[in-house]
Each structure stands twice: as structure tokens, then as C-alpha cells.
């Protein structure tokens, strides 16, 4: 078999999968987004830009998503980086494996159940009650953007920790000695060697978390209590409740386009930042 033939064979399963599960549905959504809602819901073929013109009606969902997704990504990064650094650089090797397992332990239970646990923690009888005992009254967490932020950072932290851990673990520790040998203080060594060499992991983690957050709907639904809506929640509502498929498709297409634009800007930025070989490798 020729090289080309073998390459084609390697790509066939994934290619078919993507075609059926991604490209075709996307095409359907694209076509639907120009249609109209039927009398009893669903879709009626048409060609109109009316659905897109109606987008501002869902502005709040877009606003929430576009604020909380980046914010959640940054918060997850700020918490994950020191942890990953500790695990990869400082932690004694014999503890490392157990610590890494602890990071993924939350995945053993469904995010749904864990989010309900957060309802209790952030709810009236949880943290606010605790704060009352030290004299801080009338604090509300549950059903606020803050609760949603806590929920998404909690849920997606492991996805941020792992890529960063991998890139820090791969980092040749002798480079840190070389840097010290050349007169660099520990802080400057971190800034000039450790941080740049871990950008592939940071880039991967941020992209992974950001993309997933843009499509998130479960955590805002549970911890936002119907007050903090994401685009994902709008889609659930439009497709499953009001059965307005045409409008839902227009909202979905808009989200896809926003993601395409942000991710491509982000990739450009990252590859300029590091500029070395295994930059945007997904680990």
C-alpha cells in the first residue's frame, strides 16, 4: 500500500465519525438557522434572517457566557498553576502519584451530584450561616454569578491542572540550575525559564477549559438558579422547552462563530508568545 493509502486508512475512522457526528449536524443547524418556527414548534423551511435579527433578545445569556467563561478560565489557571508547579517540581516523587489521584478523585462522582453539594455549601445553611457566627450577616452566594464561578472553577480545575503538570514535569530541572548558575534569582528563573517553557501546558489547559465553559449549561442551571443564564441554558430552553428550533439554531451558530474567532485569535497570540517547537501541542 502506498504511504498515501495508509494515511487515508489511518484517518478514515475519525473522519467518518466527524462527518456524521459533527459536520452533518452543524450543516443541519446552519440550514435551520435561516428557517422559521412551525406553529406547533420545530422547524419550517424558509430563508429569512429574522432569527439572527432576534439575537439581542438573548443578549444576557451571551453576556454571562462571555464574562464568566474567560473569568472562570483565568481563575482556574491561577489556582491550577501553583498546584501543578508544586506537584511537578517540589513534591517528593513518592507522594506525587497519590496527589495526582487526589486531583482526579472528584471525577469519580457525577458533576450533577457534586454541584448539588455546592447548593448546600453556598446556600443559606452553608457558608452564609458560618459567616453569621462571626458577625457577617446577609451574605448571599447561591444563585449569584459568584456561585456559578465557584462551580465552574471547581468542576474544570483538573482539566487545567493536568496539561500544566505535564509540561512542568517535562521541564528539564537542570535548566533551573543553569539559570541559577548564570546569576538568576529564583523568581527571575521562574519568569524567564519555568513560565515560558510551561506555556504549551497553559495554552492547552486554557483552551480546553474555555471551550468547554462556552458550552456549559449544567452548573449555571444548578448554582445560578435560573438567574445566571449561559448560552447553553438558552439552547436547552429553545430546543427542549419552547421548541423554537430555528431561533435555537441561530443562537447556536452565533456561539460557534464567536468561539471560532476567539480561539483563532488565542492560537495566534500563543504561538507568537512562545515561538518554540512544541508550542500548541495538546500535551
Amino acid at each position: 500500500m502506498t504511504q498515501r493509502g495508509r494515511n487515508a486508512l489511518l484517518l478514515t475512522p475519525a473522519g467518518l465519525w466527524l462527518l456524521v457526528m459533527l459536520v452533518l449536524p452543524l450543516l443541519v443547524v446552519f440550514v435551520f438557522s435561516f428557517g422559521e418556527r412551525g406553529a406547533a414548534g420545530g422547524y419550517v423551511p424558509a430563508f429569512t434572517l429574522e432569527q439572527y435579527a432576534n439575537l439581542p433578545a438573548r443578549w444576557t445569556a451571551f453576556k454571562n457566557t462571555l464574562i464568566l467563561a474567560p473569568l472562570g478560565t483565568i481563575a482556574a489557571l491561577l489556582i491550577a498553576y501553583p498546584l501543578a508547579y508544586f506537584l511537578a517540581v517540589r513534591c517528593a516523587p513518592r507522594w506525587r502519584t497519590s496527589m495526582l489521584i487526589l486531583v482526579i478523585v472528584p471525577f469519580w462522582t457525577s458533576i450533577l451530584i457534586r454541584s448539588y453539594a455546592w447548593i448546600f455549601i453556598l446556600g443559606g445553611r452553608g457558608l452564609p450561616a458560618l459567616l453569621e457566627t462571626i458577625g457577617i450577616n446577609d451574605v448571599r452566594f447561591i444563585n449569584t454569578p459568584f456561585a456559578v464561578l465557584v462551580g465552574i472553577v471547581y468542576g474544570y480545575l483538573p482539566l487545567m491542572v493536568f496539561p500544566i503538570f505535564v509540561s512542568l514535569d517535562k521541564l528539564d530541572k537542570r535548566l533551573l540550575e543553569a539559570s541559577a548558575d548564570l546569576g538568576s534569582t529564583p523568581w527571575r528563573t521562574f519568569r524567564q525559564v519555568t513560565l515560558p517553557l510551561s506555556t504549551p501546558g497553559v495554552a492547552t489547559g486554557c483552551m480546553l477549559v474555555f471551550i468547554l465553559l462556552m458550552g456549559e449549561f449544567l452548573i449555571p442551571a444548578i448554582l445560578g438558579g435560573g438567574k445566571v443564564f449561559f448560552v447553553g441554558n438558552a439552547l436547552v430552553d429553545l430546543f427542549l422547552q419552547s421548541r423554537n428550533w430555528a431561533y435555537g439554531s441561530a443562537v447556536a451558530m452565533t456561539l460557534v462563530i464567536i468561539m471560532l474567532i476567539t480561539v483563532s485569535i488565542y492560537m495566534k497570540f500563543i504561538s507568537r508568545l512562545g515561538g518554540h517547537r512544541d508550542d500548541v501541542s495538546l500535551m
Binding site: L175, A178, D181, G183, S184
Partner: protein
């Protein structure tokens, strides 16, 4: 070393223990300004550990490390006026060749002007013959070129002490030879003190002013290559620095400057001691192959031993013979071309005699 040379670095009773491994055991050593010193010894003898304590990466368990007369045990690596060329170079993969070399200069406070930095980097690149390679990425450089970048990155800082941990181990033989010569020239040109770690005796012999031979965490002998070759103190040193013939013996007469030893076979030999010797002591005697004369007739009745030739290897300017004496065993003999022309070639199976000057027989610690 002459007295005038100043000591730039010193180890005083330095011991380093890792868990239950004594990696360095009471090292005492003074390193003179501008000298080229090598640590020589087999794998695991503590060479790297000694070097890392000078660089500041390891703290001695006991003893003192001095730089320029100051105890620096508690001085962090980034504060020491010392630079290191790492065994696998440890070049920064995210920086260009120039930026790697400029790294040390950029850490200095107060800051050095950009123009001065780039001029120094250019000059360092020229010094290691990599002019024009500055904008390149590290992975675009060959192994030998990377080694030069590592060297340039260290020397551009004009350190008081340059530490080199087996810098040539990853290079092929030819390149290694070239780099050895270049490194030696560079050291003379810059006047920086070099401390080299190697387990290659040839490398140590050809490059160093002094060699510090180590074994199992200890320094066993320090001296110029010639001193170590001519007057090794122990069988270990004699075997590590050049090749030799070794025989076990017991001292029967320990007069100063004239020692008589008795071999296992009962034969008595005479020689000079390099170490304090007592009568009755078990020692090792060593005779260098090139100091043995191979003759047909018995020249000196007393010292010459009858041998049978077992093997002959022609090496160009020398011929190497393996000659066997019934009582003592095998002798390796190196006959210079001229001597062989005079005496004629010996064939395998032929009878001959080996003899040597009394001074050639060294009496060493076992």
C-alpha cells in the same frame, strides 16, 4: 605550582553525604588562579558532587568551601562568581543562541547596557567560532555546536572559576580531540581558572596543569600529569594514569632510598619508594612498559629476567610485546622503533630477557 600563584578556590575537609552514601569524603584541595585542574576518577567517585559544591548546587555536610578566601557554604549558586558548563549543556530551548549567551549578562544588577551585552555576545560567539550563528534556535545546532554555545554562555560572564562537567562526553572521538585543543587554547587566552571533571585519563593528561585523582569519594593524589605518571602513590593511581605492570611483593629491607622487596616466587627486586615503607609491609611494585628493556643476551646478571615472547603488536613508533616470566607472570613491554632496529624483532615463542633501571621499579601502596 609556584608559590606566587594565588589560591582562588579551596575545599577544606569537605564531606557530602546523601542518605547513606558518602559522595565526598573530607576533600582538601586548593585551586590556584589561572590553573587548569581536572578531577579524574571512575563513575560514581564523587567528581560531580565536588564540582556542584563549588558551584553552590550542593551544600557540604561538613567542611568549608572557599572562594577568593571567603567561606561560601551558605552563598546561593546565583550569587557565586562561578559558571558551569553542564554535562548535557542545559541550554534554554526557548531562547536563540544569542539569548542563551546573553542570559547571564542580563541577570546582572545594575543592568548592563544593551549595546554592551550584544557586543560581548558577538565576541563570545567569535571566540567559540560560531560567528553568525546568533539568531539560530538551539535545536538547529549540532551537538558540537551546542557544546560551544554552552561554553560561550559561561565564559561571556568572565567567571573567576569555570566548572566543566564532562563537557566532551557526548562528542565523537575526532570532535572531542579538536575541542580539547580549543578548550586548552581558550583557557590560556582568557586566563580563567578551569576545573574539569572527566573519567577519560587521556583527556585529563593532555589538558590539565594538575590532576586530582579520586576514588570512592576521596582524593587519592593530586599532582601534575607528569608527577602522577612518574611517581604515583598507589596502584590505583598508576593504573588510572597510563598503563603499567603490577606485581605483589613484601618489603624485606626498608633502607631509605633503597628498598628490597621479595616477590611471591621468592625473587628479590630493588626499587625506590614513593610512600613511607616499613619492613614486612605488603606492597605493590609497578614497572612502566616503556621502561623495560627487551634484550637477547642477559645484560645485567642480577636484574634481568628470562622471558618467553607470547605476543607482538606493531604500533608504529613502538612495538608492544607480551613477555612471560615463569615465576612472576606477564610483562607488557613497549619497545621504541629505534631499539627494535638495533636489537631486531622478537617472534612469538622466542626466549629473551627483560631488565630495567632500579629507579623504574616503583613501590606503591596496594
Amino acid at each position: 605550582m609556584s608559590v606566587a600563584i594565588q589560591t582562588i578556590a579551596e575545599l577544606r575537609g569537605v564531606t557530602k553525604i546523601f542518605g547513606d552514601v558518602v559522595a565526598a569524603d573530607s576533600l582538601d584541595l586548593a585551586i590556584g588562579e589561572g590553573e587548569f585542574l581536572s578531577f579524574l576518577g571512575p563513575s560514581g567517585c564523587g567528581k560531580t558532587t565536588a564540582l556542584r559544591m563549588l558551584a553552590g548546587f550542593e551544600k557540604p555536610t561538613k567542611g568549608e568551601v572557599l572562594l577568593d578566601g571567603q567561606v561560601v557554604n551558605d552563598l546561593d549558586a546565583h550569587r557565586r562568581p562561578v559558571n558551569m558548563v553542564f554535562q548535557h549543556y542545559a541550554l534554554f530551548p526557548h531562547l536563540s543562541v544569542s539569548d542563551n549567551i546573553a542570559y547571564g549578562l542580563r541577570q546582572q544588577r545594575p543592568r548592563i547596557e544593551r549595546k554592551i551585552i550584544s557586543a560581548k555576545v558577538e565576541q563570545a560567539l567569535e571566540t567559540v567560532r560560531l560567528g553568525g550563528f546568533g539568531p539560530r534556535r538551539i535545536w538547529e545546532m549540532s551537538g558540537g555546536q551546542q557544546q560551544r554555545v554552552a561554553l560561550a554562555r559561561a565564559i561571556v560572564n568572565e567567571p573567576k572559576l569555570l566548572l566543566l562537567d564532562e563537557p566532551m562526553a557526548a562528542l565523537d572521538r575526532k570532535l572531542r580531540k579538536e575541542m580539547q585543543i580549543e578548550l586548552q587554547n581558550l583557557q590560556r587566552q582568557l586566563g580563567i581558572t578551569f576545573v574539569l571533571v572527566t573519567h577519560d585519563q587521556e583527556e585529563a593528561l593532555s589538558m590539565s596543569d594538575r590532576i586530582c585523582v579520586m576514588e570512592g569519594g576521596r582524593i587519592v593524589q593530586v599532582g601534575s600529569p607528569r608527577e602522577l605518571y612518574d611517581t604515583p602513590r598507589s596502584r590505583y593511581v598508576a593504573g588510572f594514569v597510563g598503563t603499567s605492570n603490577f606485581f605483589d611483593a613484601t618489603v624485606t629491607d626498608a633502607s631509605p632510598n633503597h628498598i628490597t622487596v621479595q616477590m611471591a616466587s621468592g625473587r628479590q627486586l630493588h626499587g625506590t619508594p614513593e610512600i613511607p615503607i616499613d619492613t614486612g609491609q605488603a606492597v605493590c611494585v609497578s614497572i612502566r612498559p616503556e621502561q623495560i628493556a627487551l634484550t637477547r643476551a642477559e645484560r645485567a646478571a642480577e636484574a634481568a629476567l628470562p622471558v618467553t615472547i607470547h605476543n607482538r603488536i606493531f604500533l608504529g613508533e613502538h612495538t608492544e610485546y607480551l613477555a612471560r616470566n615463569e615465576a612472576l607472570g606477564d610483562f607488557l613491554v613497549l619497545v621504541p622503533r629505534q631499539a627494535e632496529l638495533n636489537e631486531g624483532t622478537f617472534n612469538a615463542g622466542e626466549q629473551a630477557f627483560v631488565s630495567w633501571d632500579e629507579g623504574a621499579l616503583l613501590i606503591l601502596e596496594k
